[in-house]
């Protein structure tokens, strides 16, 4: 198979699909031209991700990466969220095909974009360098 069992499981049964009605932070990355858009909604309570949802337009590995990424940050402290890497997402999925690694990058970036949105909305200071520019070209 092209994808691992883990990828297929998360693709077939994605966790946390949907939207949050009153999110504390929202991040959207990718673009439709490239065929991948991910949108992450965060609910944050006492520096912890109390709820998370995602919407994804994209391939199997994009959907699985979104699902896995939301699972990985749910209930975690914002510091832990900040430590999420695309590598960790891909590993948690038992690997992705080389030309699909960018999907895990997108998942990391969507999570970070949502977090940044939370900081911005709540006027919480952060180091902008922590949020690398989210750029479609970068992952090709």
């Amino acid at each position: 198979m092209l994808y691992s069992e883990k990828v297929m499981d998360h693709f077939r049964h994605p966790r946390n699909v949907g939207i949050l009605e009153h999110p504390d932070g929202v991040g959207e990355v990718g673009n439709a031209k490239c065929g991948d858009i991910m949108k992450i909604y965060l609910k944050i309570d006492q520096d912890t991700v109390s709820d998370v949802k995602f919407e994804t337009f994209g391939c199997g590995s994009a959907i699985a990466s979104s699902s896995m990424a939301t699972e990985m940050i749910k209930g975690k402290s914002l510091d832990e969220v900040m430590d999420l890497t695309n590598k960790a997402v891909a590993e948690a999925l038992d690997g992705l095909p080389a030309h699909k690694l960018h999907c895990s990058v997108l998942a990391e970036e969507a999570v970070k974009a949502a977090l940044k949105d939370y900081y911005d909305r709540h006027n919480i200071a952060y180091d902008p360098k922590q949020f690398s520019s989210i750029d479609c070209e970068g992952c090709h």
Binding site: A32, C59, A62, I63
Partner: protein
Amino acid sequence: MIYADNAATTKLSGTALNAMLPYLREAYGNPSSLYSLGQQAAEALAEARQTVADCLHCRPEEIYFTSGGSEADNQAILSAARRGKARGKTHIISTSFEHHAVLHTLQKLEKEGFTVTLLDVHETGRVTPQQVAEAITDDTCLVTIMYANNEIGTIQPIADIGRLCRERNVLFHTDAVQAAGHLEIDVGRENIDMLSLSGHKFHGPKGVGALYVRKGIPLTPLIEGGAQERRKRAGTENVAGIVGMAAALKEACDHLPEHTAKVSALRDKLIAGLDAIPHGALNGDRNHRLPGNVSFCFEGIEGESMLLLLDDRGICASSGSACTSGSLDPSHVLLAIGRPHEVAHGSLRLSLCEENTEQEVDVMLREIPQVIDYLRNMSPVWRK
């Protein structure tokens, strides 16, 4: 399992397999060998050549066996270009939605100094003979236009283009990989100078194809070596494959009207059903299309996830062409007919053959809308 990806490849027919088996078992001689075992293979090749020639309405000595459609396309185009260059002509006309076997070969020639005009195929997925007529210059050495497109199934006005090229004394090659065995082809009547086909697209084996080259047109080898194929294509012949391809092509041509009627009825039912899905659109002309081709774009979703979910439901389909599935870019064919990038990502191709049934069409018409709904619900770009 519902196999609806016959444009990617087909199931080997029983007739073809049975024709092949003796050459995979006891009749293993090399056709170049003098002794009976070798001559038996040589005769099988001669018969296969005659069969393929009969199907295309040409002479056996105009048929060259290759390892598939890609090789045939490469050889035809490079050979015509060499001939052109020798006469000081370095302009080639093609279309923007050819198969990569053609487009990449043309790109290679561009690097060597050739000028390539890729004609627009419009929203219909068809060129007009007028476009070809206007594009031909004194410098034009080759027109290469596919008989029918592999993704959206549109059929080109080949006979008209052929007549025109003959009048203007320009070589005309057509990639008929999707057409052979599916449409009535007469290379003489249609004024085709060179034509490529591939066995596995009409229930023959993979890894074998043929190139028709009209008598009198010089052909340059792509693969040099032994004296096989009248010195135009070296390498010990894939005897079993060639025999299987010929048997499959004959079977397809013998049943052409019957299969066409059956398959296009299934196709039309499928198209009518999918037409009902909102924000979807049929790709390519509704009438001038291959009997088995159904191609749609659905907004708000991405093709690969659709295919994976359909696979879970036992439906084999494709999104764009199979051979570019390693790529992230949307299909150049869909872009060529003017689909925006984001829409081109949501394409679905179902390609039918005579073994598909009406029940299968019903199942597809039940499952596909469900899958599209499900994915659209998950999509941030879909306004629910």
